[in-house]
């Protein structure tokens, strides 16, 4: 097995224009390899490739780097995004603890993926719609949707009676199934525009494991065939439960797009600036009617797959430590402090806010209400059948 390139190569040391490559949609990239993501020497699981070019604007030490095609000029927004990331992490750790206390049935932590999710969510426009998988807690929070619905879902109070479906669709538990829904929805946006640029797009989240699913490949295909305004946002967090990404693919995941005929691009998923810049680029071209794109956000699942998982069975402490050095929150805080955009007092204020937020989250669980059996019978169909009415009465009779 070929280890990811060990040598640290600074981006500007071997710049290589890829303008003529149709797979990149005319965009060229610095050939920063995945191994460079943290400026460290090992990225854990072998990739089976040298990482390929990767967009990075902020390295693991919190240092800004220029990029030929992507920039992040408006740094004033970044303290707020750091807040998004910190609150998402607090929410995630509270939810993990709530599961340990028996208050939630299960929790899939998003620990370590905050930059990928916040950067992507902050690129969404008002008319865009996000299609999450089941780990996109930071997306839901960043868009301001009620976090109670995430807790209700994983507590088992209901199956997804969500508000705000026009911004974020329901969590999807079937791996990759949502990619087809996002593609169909984007086809609908295109039809609504009746030949004009759709001026709206879908952003669909899936993981590295999902790229093995037929549905994801069919979604890529339908999106390409219809030139639909959909952006596939693949969080390559290196692990599909216990299976490393090398088991899913012999090529870097963003290269999958080549075969479907749309641009694929790898971005440092722990760099919120780069994620936002790349996602904005992909969404804008989709809204202009230029079709789909695949973003591979190269990141790491710092926690377990879910609270039922035990990562010590399949991955090493060395790997986890190497990725801890690339923590998306630490690098942004370091950068913002160096730029005097935040200071220790600001961080202390955020810490206090996060503590209060954690208390709110714990209190919210106590207020959650279970769906009723009657409502379950009533919602199987939009038009209930006589048969279900009878079974509902039967159930009510058994209670009496």
């Amino acid at each position: 097995m070929c280890q990811a390139a060990a040598q640290v190569i600074r981006p500007d040391a071997r710049g290589r224009a890829l303008d003529d490559d149709p797979s990149t949609g005319g965009v060229s990239f610095r050939p920063l390899s995945a191994a460079d993501a943290g400026g460290a020497s090992s990225l854990g699981p072998a990739l089976g490739d040298d990482g390929g070019p990767m967009v990075q604007l902020l390295d693991a030490s919190g240092r800004r780097w220029p990029d030929e095609h992507f920039d992040f000029p408006d740094v004033d927004v970044l303290p707020n995004w750091l807040r998004d990331m910190v609150l998402a992490r607090r929410f995630d750790s509270e939810a993990t603890a709530l599961q340990r206390h028996g208050e939630l049935a299960l929790w899939p932590p998003c620990l370590g993926q905050e930059a990928a999710q916040v950067g992507a969510a902050r690129a969404l426009g008002d008319r865009d719609v996000a299609f999450p998988s089941y780990r996109e807690h930071a997306v839901v929070l960043t868009l301001g949707l009620p976090y109670r619905q995430l807790l209700a879902l994983f507590r088992g109070c209901d199956g997804g009676a969500w508000e705000g479906l026009d911004r974020v669709r329901n969590y999807q538990m079937i791996i990759g199934a949502q990619t087809l829904h996002a593609t169909g929805y984007a086809m609908g946006m295109q039809l609504d525009a009746a030949g004009s640029p759709p001026d709206a797009a879908t952003l669909v989240f899936h993981g590295d494991g999902a790229t093995s699913q037929g549905d994801v490949n069919e979604a890529y295909l339908f999106a390409a065939s219809r030139n639909a305004p959909v952006v596939f946002f693949c969080q390559n967090n290196q692990w599909a439960i216990s299976e490393p990404v090398t088991l899913q693919s012999r090529t870097p995941l963003h290269r999958r797009a080549d075969g479907f005929g749309f641009p694929g691009i790898r971005v440092d998923g722990n760099d919120v600036l780069a994620v936002h810049a790349v996602t904005t680029w992909a969404l804008e071209r989709a809204r202009r009617g230029e079709g789909p794109a695949l973003i591979e956000a190269y990141t790491y699942r710092m926690g377990a797959h879910t609270t039922s998982d035990d990562p010590t069975k399949y991955r090493t402490d060395d790997e986890s430590r190497a990725w801890a050095d690339r923590d998306p929150i630490d690098r942004l805080a370091t950068y913002l402090k160096a730029e005097d955009l935040i200071d220790d007092a600001w961080l202390a204020g955020l810490d206090a806010e996060a503590r209060d937020f954690g208390a709110d989250v714990r209190a919210a669980v106590a207020d959650l209400r279970d769906a009723t059996m009657a409502s379950l019978f009533d919602n199987v169909y939009a038009e209930i059948t006589d048969e279900l009415r009878a079974q509902r009465r039967e159930h009510e009779g058994e209670l009496a």
């Binding site: 997804g160 199934a177 169909g184 984007a186 609908g188 339908f222």
Partner: protein, 319 residues
């Protein structure tokens, strides 16, 4: 005089005309008009954006249809043959069937999945299946099967108007036979059963292609047989089933699908639970066998025939 295929075509035409949100999608449905020509002329009439030639990926077709529905469209999917629906099975049973439930009614699924089903056309493997039980067993789906042209014309429009996902099973071996005229208006609701022929001695319960076989059997029989065209397989119109069997006191279910846990099993179970003391004989089933659908040259020995039905009638009446 029309045919069942043309009756569905004109029903789809009317639905496309009535509501600009109605879309058709499937393999070969546009330029070719479908391998059975059911959608012939519709792409010409309504354009490539409303009658969509889709890539050859059934899960992709159903999954993108769900996305279009989330965007506010009403989508009619054509699956080319019964045996090709399985790649789409996950999107049908884990997604289309559950969205209304998952979202507590916030997202309905006005989708119709048209599937030519059943045997009798001398086809190769995977072209003659009767998969209705899988769909009837899935909460959240509705399943219907017209047996004649007029029903097909009206039921396809009713299915498109339904706010729920409807599996619309089309008896492919009856597609091109002369099928009578289309009534001026729907004779019954989408989920109503219909007495195809009234009789006093026993009720033959059938749907789709088997209804005609039962009518032929009734004609050939020395007994006065009633033929109940079930039309809706999920939900079943139990009041009509019970009323007929309560009157004739004998029931025989006829289905092309394999016997074990077919819809006939549910019909028999329910009749025995609820009508046991009104019946003179146990409910009998005339079905396909529990083997994969046979090669074409043997299908006559597999499909319920007039002879097998009459034999079951004799057993029922002698009980």
């Amino acid at each position: 005089m029309t045919t069942l295929a043309r009756a569905i075509n004109s029903g789809l035409h009317r639905a496309l005309e009535a509501d600009p949100k109605v879309l058709l999608t499937g393999e070969d449905i546009g330029r070719l008009g479908g391998v059975f020509r059911v959608t012939e002329g519709l792409q010409e009439a309504f354009g490539e954006d409303r009658v969509i030639d889709a890539p050859l990926a059934e899960s992709g077709i159903v999954g993108t249809a769900i996305g279009l529905i989330m965007r506010g469209y009403r989508v009619v999917v054509e699956i080319q043959f019964d045996g090709f629906v399985y790649p789409a099975f996950d999107q049908i049973v884990t997604q289309a069937a559950r969205l209304n439930y998952r979202t507590a009614g916030r997202q309905g699924v006005p989708m119709v999945i048209r599937i030519p089903f059943g045997g009798g056309i001398g086809a190769i493997e995977h072209h003659s299946e009767s998969p209705e039980a899988y769909f009837c067993h899935t909460p959240g789906l509705k399943v219907v099967a017209p047996s004649n042209a007029s029903d097909a014309h009206w039921m396809i429009q009713q299915a498109i108007a339904s706010p729920d996902p409807v599996i619309f099973l089309e008896p492919k071996r009856r597609y091109h036979a002369a099928g009578g005229d289309i009534d001026d208006e729907a004779a019954a609701g989408l989920h109503d059963a219909r007495i195809a022929k009234s009789g006093a001695d026993a009720t033959l319960i059938a749907w789709g292609p088997s209804v005609l076989t039962c009518l032929e059997a009734a004609k050939a029989s020395e007994y006065d047989l009633e033929v109940l065209d079930l039309r809706s397989l999920s939900p079943v119109d139990w009041p009509s089933v019970y009323a007929s069997v309560a009157r004739t006191r004998r029931a025989i279910v006829v289905q092309e699908a394999p016997r074990t846990l077919g819809l006939g099993s549910e019909l028999a179970a329910r009749l025995h639970e609820d009508l046991f003391y009104d019946m003179e004989a146990p409910v009998l089933r005339v079905t396909g066998y529990d083997i994969p659908y046979p090669p074409a040259r043997l299908e006559r020995e597999y499909l319920p025939s007039v002879d097998r039905i009459l034999d079951a009638v004799d057993r029922s009446l002698s009980a």
